[in-house]
Every structure is written in structure tokens, then in C-alpha cells.
């Protein structure tokens, strides 16, 4: 409590966090240095891109960890009672609504991902929306139906590839002779100026993030819902 009284006022333009050259630099220089209008995305994906890469890894790790702990391979789940309560016929209203909704949700998710560096949005948010559309499919039908579209192997590959895309942009700049994640050097292999290369690379890493988040969202859901058997459940 005594510490809170010591904080600068709310919204004070002269508070250390606002007046220090760090925020000043972000606010004034972002557009020149990265040609990205949304400076939140620029800080996230470029200035502090290394943090964000590991945030993606945290999500990836969470997914792998859930699989490692919960997943039961093989047919050792005889004792698991069949959820007879949930064997239901597809409900017409739910089915039709979801059939209409899911493509729209996915389209919106793609918009959020693609527009991350112009307006609020980005890979994490878009990925969550995209993953939610698969979860909606699993909830409205059953897990098997959703598994048909996104089988477990494909999910894991998608998650790994997502992280790999992000890290690949870093590795690309490292191989071209600059530091890890220095996107500007990528202009050598992109039809763009160094500054535009930063902007394009940000889009690229956002897509990588979206891959991972989508996959892990659905993977965690299906492992939790089916108690690790990936067979039945909600």
C-alpha cells in the first residue's frame, strides 16, 4: 500500500514510464523504423520480438505438457464409462447455427491475424478465435467430427510449424549475417526495402503465432474434454 501511494499519478505525462526515452522512441520512431502504424504490434513483434517468440513457446510448451500428462495412448481406457448421456442426435437448430457461424468466425480470425500490424489484433488474438471455431465444432457435434478436420497429428505438426515459422524468420536473418530476429536484413530475399521487410516479417511471425495458438487451443480442449483418450467426451 505504501508503495502505491508512491506511484506517479494515473495518466501523468511526466511519469517515468511515459517520459523516458524508451516510450518516446516507440511513439515517435516506430512508423519510420518499421513502417507499421500499430506501434503495439511493432513493440511486440519487432522491438521485443524475442520475448514474443518465447511467449509462443510458452503456449507450445503448455500444449505439449498437457499431452505429456493427460494423453493416454492405446486402448487402456476400458474402465472409462461411456458417456451415454451425451450420445445425442444432432440438434437441428444448433447444427445449422454452427454451420453458419463457423466459416464467419474463421474468416474474422484470418482478418484479425492479417490486420495485426494495422489495427488492434494479431497472431495471438486471431489464433484464439480460429481455435475457438474448432472448439465450437467439437461442442456442437462431437469430438470425433472435429477430429476429422483436425486430427491430432496434424494439430501437433501445425503447432510445431508455427513456432518454426517465427524462429525461422530469426534464423533467416542470422544466416544472412545479422543478429537473430533482425528482420531488416531479410530485404535481400524479399522484394522490399529494409524497412518494409520489417513490416512483412512481422506479418509472417504473426501467422506463425496464429498457427501455434490455433493448434494448441484445440489440442488442450480435446485432451481435457476427452480425459486424454481423444475418443469420446463432450
Amino acid at each position: 500500500m505504501s508503495a502505491v501511494s508512491d506511484f506517479p499519478d494515473w495518466g501523468d505525462p511526466n511519469s517515468p514510464a511515459n517520459s523516458y526515452r524508451l516510450s518516446q522512441h516507440y511513439v515517435t520512431e516506430t512508423i519510420h523504423e518499421t513502417s507499421v502504424p500499430n506501434m503495439v504490434t511493432a513493440v511486440l513483434a519487432d522491438y521485443r520480438g524475442y520475448d514474443t517468440m518465447f511467449e509462443t513457446v510458452v503456449i507450445f510448451t503448455a500444449g505439449i505438457a498437457i499431452i505429456g500428462i493427460l494423453r493416454r495412448f492405446g486402448n487402456d481406457d476400458k474402465d472409462a464409462a461411456k458417456p451415454t448421456l451425451y450420445t445425442k442426435k444432432p440438434d437441428l437448430i444448433i447444427d445449422t447455427t454452427c454451420r453458419l457461424m463457423i466459416p464467419i468466425i474463421q474468416l474474422f480470425a484470418l482478418y484479425v491475424i492479417a490486420h495485426g500490424h494495422h489495427s488492434p489484433g494479431g497472431g495471438f488474438q486471431g489464433g484464439v478465435i480460429f481455435g475457438a471455431s474448432f472448439i465450437l465444432l467439437a461442442v456442437s457435434r462431437d469430438l470425433q467430427a472435429a477430429q476429422k478436420w483436425v486430427p491430432e497429428k496434424r494439430i501437433l505438426n501445425l503447432a510445431g510449424i508455427g513456432v518454426l515459422i517465427y524462429a525461422g524468420f530469426g534464423l533467416g536473418s542470422l544466416l544472412l549475417g545479422q543478429n537473430f530476429l533482425d528482420y531488416a536484413i531479410l530485404h535481400k530475399i524479399m522484394p522490399a526495402t529494409p524497412i518494409e521487410a520489417r513490416s512483412h516479417s512481422m506479418l509472417g511471425v504473426e501467422i506463425g503465432v496464429a498457427f501455434t495458438v490455433t493448434a494448441i487451443m484445440f489440442s488442450i480442449y480435446s485432451n481435457l474434454a476427452s480425459n486424454g483418450s481423444m475418443k469420446e467426451g463432450l
Binding site: 524508451l22 518465447f54 510458452v58 500428462i69 534464423l171 537473430f180
Partner: protein, 506 residues
């Protein structure tokens, strides 16, 4: 490539972990060789970096090419270069050991296990080499999440222990994040060195917010390192985890957190603030005395081998926290040296416990019955590790205790010196009990003939090469670290000499 060596320290295991996740399900056989190769690469990169640091001084590596504090930087000086070598080295040895243990303990999840294992080492290395306070939190999350999962993949008891660890560990990490938030509000920066410069430039060391930030960060880190009153999560987690998990977490997790404590105390807040303005070293040294004694005495009460070793870790954490807070050059040197030495000696005894568990299937120290005749090389490995924990020259443990005791004497903290000596005696009792059981058998008094013939027929034989090699290599490393202690201390001193301890210092 040599300019990129700092980044490669952690990028090599990181990339390989993703490949293991992608390909490991289909080709299970590649997980182990890929992991070992990547860690060999990591060791090579960290040794190269250490060499550069010794020759050229502090290395700064800008990620994304941005100048700090805009971007994140790795800032590697003598302290973290040394710790990075130890972390990657311990990781490599544990990975070699894992070959058979993982197949025996988690046979259907090999690729997941290696993915998490490599990500854990990535996280720990990232914490060691980063120069950014928030980046440290992100990598703390990576290493914490992986360690929860690596523990929970064990048998049923392990899952419960891991659940406790998740709750307590998350509280610790939140405390750390809260502290970083306070620092950001007051300084507007996240780069550790920049925060320190800002604290000086704005002259806000008196501010209560900085004090609270210091307290919550320190307590958060203490929770993560299992400093005595905050240690409850550790013994069961490490005792019931799969053996490879405890062989990597036992040596590394607590030691890296001690590195983090040293880094934050000295680099972010500065020794003047921590030792002269606050002047809490008496209280904290007393706390560490309690931690040393409590850890050692609890270890004495255990019959489960790995649980006993886990309580020894708690005592060792007490050594190092106390050594740092002695506010003395020698104490700090001793603590840093002990991070390196203790990482290897804990690895040594946990590898031994793992081999015994995989070979005999028993957790008790009675499993060691008469092992000197059946597994002589394994026991040689244990002997070196045990001598090091007790502190018998020329092993590494002797020299680290020697520096810590010198620090205790120089700063007048006799209670700390006495606690160290008592703890060493207790270690001697513990390990000579083990050696006695292993050499003479459990019940020497009754039924000699029958007893011997039983165990000789059904008992285990020598461990396989992939398990024995890391154990003996660790034992050799302990001797090397001990014999070359002057060179290591010279490196550490180049870090320690930057700080003045005011009136107390030498």
C-alpha cells in the same frame, strides 16, 4: 559464426526441440541423438562465449538489431558465461543419462519428453544470458512450465507433487513479475543495466515502491529456489519425478535461481542499496543458517534416497543465499563457485539415485545393499559426489565451502560458519551410512550366508554405458573443478571486484 555464439547457446537446443516435437512421433529413434547433439552444440557455444568474455570483457548481443533499451539484449559477463557453461554441461550429461531411463519410465511419450527437456534447458540458458528483466520472466515461465510437466509425467505421486509445485511456483513467478512492474513504473525501463542507471539518475533509492519491488522480487526468487521456509514444494516433486527429470531439475533449477538472485541484487539494485542502505544481511544470514540446519536435519530423517538428496538441496540453497548476504567478497566468490560446484555434485548424486532406481526399482536406501561388489564403477561415482558434498579435498565441494567459510569469518558471521560445519558433518553421517550399507550389506549381524547368496543371484549388475558414462564424467568434472579452482575463482573475481561492499569489504 563467432559473433553469433551467444545466441547459439540457446538457439541450438531450441530449434532441435521443435524438430523433436515435429518428427519424434514418427521416428522415435532420433529423439535421443538429436538432443545430445544439440546440447553438444550448446556446450561448444557457451565455452566459446566464455573464452571471448575472458579475453574481451562483457559481450553484448542485440536481438533484432535494436539498441537497448529499445530492444532486448544478451549481456554476458564473467558471471553468466560461467553459469551458462555449467548449465549446458549439466544438461548434456543428463541428456546422455536419459537414453535408457526415458525408455523405461515414459515409454509412450518419448518425443514429448525430449521436447520438454530441451525447452527446459533453453529456458534456463535464456534466463542466464539475458540482460532484460522482463525477458527473464518470459524464460522463467518457459522453464517453469516445462519443469511442472517433466515432474508430472512421473507416477501418480509425482502428479500431486507437481500440482503443489504449479501453485507455489506460479505465486513465485507472479511476485517476480509484480516487482518488475513496480520497477518499470518508477524507471520506465526494462533493461537490467538501464534500470540501475535510471535508479541512480533519478535518485529514487529511498522510494517505498523500489523497496517493495526489491522485497517482492527477492521473495519471488526465494520461492522459486526453495529457500527454507518457502521450500515445501521441492522434496516431493524431485523425489517422485522421473529420474531424468530430477537429474536435470535438482542441479539446475535452484542454482539458476540463485544466479538470478545475485544478478538482480547486484546489477539491478546495486550492492549499495542491498547491503548498506537496507542492512538486512544479519537477518538473512540467520535465515540461511536456519535453512541449512533444517535442510540437513530433515535429510537425516529420510530413508528414501532421492528425498534425502532433495533436502540436501535445500541445505545447499541455504549455503548460497547466506554466502551472498554475508556482504563480503569471499562470501560472494564462494557462492558463485558453489553454484558451479553444486550443480555438478547434485547431478552426480541424482544420477546415482536414478541408476539405482532404474536398476533395482526401489527408492529406499536399502536398495543399495551390497552394491560395491555388484556395481563397483557406479559406487566410485557416488563416492566422489559424496566426498564433494561432505567437503573432502580435492573435490569441488571442499573449495566452495572453504571460500564460504572464509567469507563467514571475514564478515564475522560465526553462526553461518558453525552451521556450515554442522551441515558438513551431517552430510558425512548420511553418506557414510549409504557407503556402509553398500559395502557391508543391510544386516551384517544376522544370517550371513543366506543373505549373500540371495542377493548375489537376483541382484542387479553394473549399469549400462549410457548411464555410467555421465556419472563418471560428472565425478571427473568435480575433481577438475576442484583442482582448477584458482582459475575459476579468478574468473569469478573479475565479476565480484566490480562491487564495493562499503565498510565491510576487504
Amino acid at each position: 559464426m563467432i559473433e553469433q555464439a551467444p545466441a547459439l547457446i540457446l538457439l541450438v537446443p531450441f530449434f532441435v526441440s521443435i524438430f523433436v516435437a515435429l518428427l519424434g512421433n514418427r521416428f522415435q529413434g532420433i529423439c535421443f541423438p538429436l538432443s545430445v547433439l544439440s546440447l553438444i552444440g550448446s556446450v561448444a557455444a557457451s565455452v566459446t562465449t566464455l573464452g571471448r568474455v575472458i579475453n574481451e570483457g562483457t559481450i553484448r548481443y542485440r536481438l533484432g538489431g535494436w539498441e537497448p533499451p529499445m530492444g532486448i539484449e544478451f549481456r554476458i559477463d564473467a558471471l553468466n558465461a560461467l553459469v551458462a557453461v555449467a548449465v549446458s554441461g549439466v544438461g548434456l550429461l543428463a541428456a546422455i543419462y536419459s537414453k535408457r531411463a526415458v525408455l523405461a519410465e515414459t515409454p509412450d511419450k518419448v518425443s514429448q519428453y525430449y521436447t520438454l527437456f530441451l525447452l527446459l534447458i533453453t529456458g534456463l540458458l535464456g534466463m542466464v544470458i539475458t540482460g532484460d528483466a522482463f525477458n527473464l520472466y518470459v524464460l522463467l515461465e518457459v522453464s517453469a512450465l516445462t519443469s511442472y510437466a517433466l515432474i508430472a509425467m512421473g507416477p501418480k505421486r509425482a502428479t500431486l507433487a507437481a500440482y503443489k509445485y504449479v501453485i507455489i511456483g506460479t505465486i513465485g513467478a507472479s511476485f517476480y513479475l509484480l516487482g518488475v512492474g513496480y520497477l518499470y513504473i518508477k524507471t520506465g525501463s526494462l533493461n537490467m543495466f538501464d534500470i540501475h542507471e535510471q535508479l541512480i539518475a533519478r535518485d529514487i533509492f529511498d522510494s517505498p515502491a523500489i523497496l517493495v519491488a526489491f522485497i517482492v522480487i527477492t521473495v519471488g526468487v526465494w520461492i522459486k529456489m526453495a529457500f527454507f521456509p518457502l521450500h515445501a514444494w521441492l522434496p516431493n516433486s524431485y523425489a517422485y519425478a522421473p529420474t531424468t527429470s530430477s537429474a536435470i531439475l535438482g542441479p539446475l533449477m535452484t542454482k539458476v535461481m540463485i544466479y538470478v538472485m545475485i544478478r538482480l541484487t547486484f546489477t539491478v539494485f546495486g550492492s549499495d542499496f542491498a547491503f548498506i542502505q537496507l542492512d538486512w544481511s544479519d537477518i538473512i544470514v540467520w535465515m540461511s543458517v536456519v535453512a541449512i540446519l533444517a535442510g540437513s536435519i530433515s535429510a537425516l530423517a529420510q530413508t528414501d534416497l532421492r528425498k534425502m538428496l532433495s533436502f540436501l538441496i535445500i541445505a545447499e540453497v541455504g549455503y548460497m543465499v547466506g554466502g551472498v548476504w554475508l556482504a563480503d567478497d569471499m562470501g560472494l566468490v564462494g557462492s558463485i563457485y558453489h553454484i558451479i560446484a553444486d550443480a555438478f555434485m547434485t547431478l552426480c548424486v541424482f544420477l546415482f539415485a536414478g541408476i539405482i532406481f532404474v536398476k533395482t526399482g526401489k527408492r529406499d536406501i536399502t536398495a543399495l545393499d551390497g552394491l560395491f561388489t555388484k556395481m563397483p564403477l557406479t559406487m566410485v561415482g557416488l563416492l566422489v559426489g559424496a566426498f564433494s558434498l561432505i567437503g573432502i579435498p580435492p573435490t569441488a565441494g571442499f573449495f566452495s565451502k572453504w571460500y564460504l567459510i572464509q567469507g563467514g569469518v571475514a564478515s564475522g558471521h560465526w553462526e553461518y560458519v558453525i552451521a556450515l560445519l554442522i551441515s558438513s558433518l551431517i552430510n558425512a553421517v548420511l553418506f557414510f551410512r549409504i557407503i556402509e550399507i553398500a559395502y557391508f550389506g543391510v544386516k551384517p549381524a544376522e544370517g550371513h550366508g543366506h543373505h549373500d547368496s540371495d542377493t548375489h543371484e537376483s541382484g542387479p549388475n553394473e549399469a549400462s554405458f549410457s548411464m555410467l558414462f555421465p556419472l563418471l564424467a560428472t565425478a571427473a568434472a568435480l575433481l577438475v573443478i576442484g583442482l582448477y579452482n584458482q582459475d575459476i575463482v579468478a574468473i569469478i573475481s573479475s565479476f565480484v571486484s566490480q562491487f564495493n561492499f562499503g565498510v565491510i569489504g576487504i
